[in-house]
């Protein structure tokens, strides 16, 4: 229970409230559902252990599931999967070089392009898992693709903008 824990807890609560009270109330189409809370898992400190980040993902997913009246487990499965894949995704984007020096994955530390690639790749993975589970089947593929692509674009946009708002100044949180 150190300072980082409470900072992360505050960040998680803020993101959940932002998602539920602002994003979900935006008058968007059925095809677009930005899942901004995913940002929490993506911007965890780089050296944060995968087990801890998966536990965070579990707690975050459970909260989202409970508050969205939907099926329990849906967001947990997707978020835990992303938390597990995160180190691989980061390595893929940064090309394995000077990873040890990076503390927080952000556009300042990774560079804008790799950061954008990292976010969009993770968002796509996440939304594919989430929407496929939500649909139960692949019966309506064109519609499913449309939802994934449009939602991925808006989610990425939101996360990149929020990242500048939250950690615009480098090394604010460690």
């Amino acid at each position: 229970m150190n300072r980082l824990f409470f900072q992360l807890l505050a960040l998680a609560v803020l993101l959940i409230l932002f998602q539920m009270l602002i994003i979900d109330k935006l008058p968007l189409s059925t095809y677009i559902s930005p899942e901004v809370y995913l940002m929490f898992i993506l911007i965890l400190p780089f050296k944060y252990s995968t087990i801890k980040s998966m536990l965070w993902a579990f707690a975050l997913g459970l909260t989202i599931d409970l508050f969205s009246y939907g099926v329990l487990g849906l967001h947990i499965i997707s978020l835990v999967a992303i938390a597990y894949l995160r180190p691989q995704l980061l390595k893929m984007v940064t090309g394995n070089n000077n990873i040890e020096n990076i503390q927080l994955p952000s556009s300042q530390t990774l560079g804008f392009r790799p950061f954008l690639a990292y976010i969009s790749l993770s968002v796509c993975c996440y939304l594919i898992i989430l929407f496929c589970l939500d649909n139960y089947s692949f019966h309506n593929l064109p519609q499913l693709f449309q939802r994934i692509i449009l939602s991925a674009m808006t989610t990425t946009l939101f996360i990149v903008v929020l990242q500048y708002a939250f950690i615009g100044r480098p090394n604010k949180k460690t």
């Binding site: 979900d24 059925t30 009246y69 329990l72 849906l74």
Partner: protein, 274 residues
């Protein structure tokens, strides 16, 4: 790091991953109706504390539209009353206040305090609960049409499965031909829903009104739902009809919960039938 140590830490991470995913999948699959509604019930109060202030703030923006709708409804009801009153006067019958004249339905007013339209399974929260007499499986309507069905009730709140929920079906009827079939949202457009199982020989006309059938007793008969947009033949002999919904759930705010007065009686009849 020692390769062996790294290997074991990898195994450990993987094991935790598997355990967490198994728990999640068990929750996901074993998500029974009962489990869902009991969990939801306990969440109602907590979540409504957050939603209510936000709702009371945002509701001001739609007051103009709501006022106009209410004025129109008032006007229509007044005309109807006038018409019925004149009919009553000219018929010159003395009203018998007898048990035979009991109405079939009564309505409980409520307000939408939380709503979504951009998921596959959309739900609505209302600010009326068991204290107001709401129970599960009551229909919810507005002046514009069907909204959904109550699936769980707490003391002051009710959770409604929205008409925009791909897991909910209800019976509707075509007004001109009288053919009926189940209506279910396909998860694509929030202003359209799908009516299926209309036999091929029936005459489906574009612009025909779709109303509730009244068979299930969740809704009174003849509540408007939408108008026919297109009809295509699918699965052999049946039409699949795209219906443009009257209701715009993005804007809906005040609703009526349908209380079917004879529901218990009808239900008990169904049980003895078996």
């Amino acid at each position: 790091m020692n390769p062996l140590l790294r290997f074991f830490s990898g195994i450990r991470v993987f094991a935790v991953f598997i355990v967490l995913e198994i728990i999640a999948v068990i929750l996901f699959i074993g998500n029974s109706y009962y489990q869902q509604s009991t969990i939801l019930k306990s969440m109602h109060t907590t979540w409504s504390m957050v939603v209510r202030p936000v709702h009371s703030l945002t509701q001001y923006f739609s007051l103009g539209v709501v006022n106009r709708q209410l004025a129109e409804e008032n006007n229509r009801l007044r005309n109807e009353l006038e018409y019925l009153q004149s009919g009553l006067d000219s018929a010159a019958v003395t009203l018998v206040h007898d048990e035979e004249y009991r109405p079939l339905y009564s309505y409980i007013p409520a307000e939408i305090i939380d709503n979504s339209i951009n998921k596959q399974q959309n739900y609505i929260m209302l600010n009326a609960g068991s204290e107001q007499g709401v129970t599960t499986e009551m229909g919810v309507i507005t002046e514009q049409g069907v909204v959904g069905i109550v699936i769980s009730v707490s003391k002051h709140y009710a959770l409604v499965k929205s008409i925009l929920n791909t897991e909910w079906k209800f019976n509707v009827r075509l007004k001109s031909s009288g053919d009926f079939g189940p209506m279910q949202w396909d998860g694509i457009n929030y202003r359209q829903s799908i009516l299926s199982d209309i036999p091929q020989h029936s005459n489906v006309v574009k612009g025909d009104t779709v109303v509730t059938s009244g068979y299930s007793r969740m809704f009174p008969q003849g509540i408007p739902v939408g108008v026919v947009d297109t009809a295509v033949i699918k699965r052999g002999n049946f039409y699949e009809v795209k219906v443009n919904l009257f209701i715009d759930l993005r804007k809906a705010q005040y609703v009526n919960i349908v209380n079917s007065i004879y529901r218990n009686e009808l239900d008990s009849l169904k049980i003895t039938e078996r």
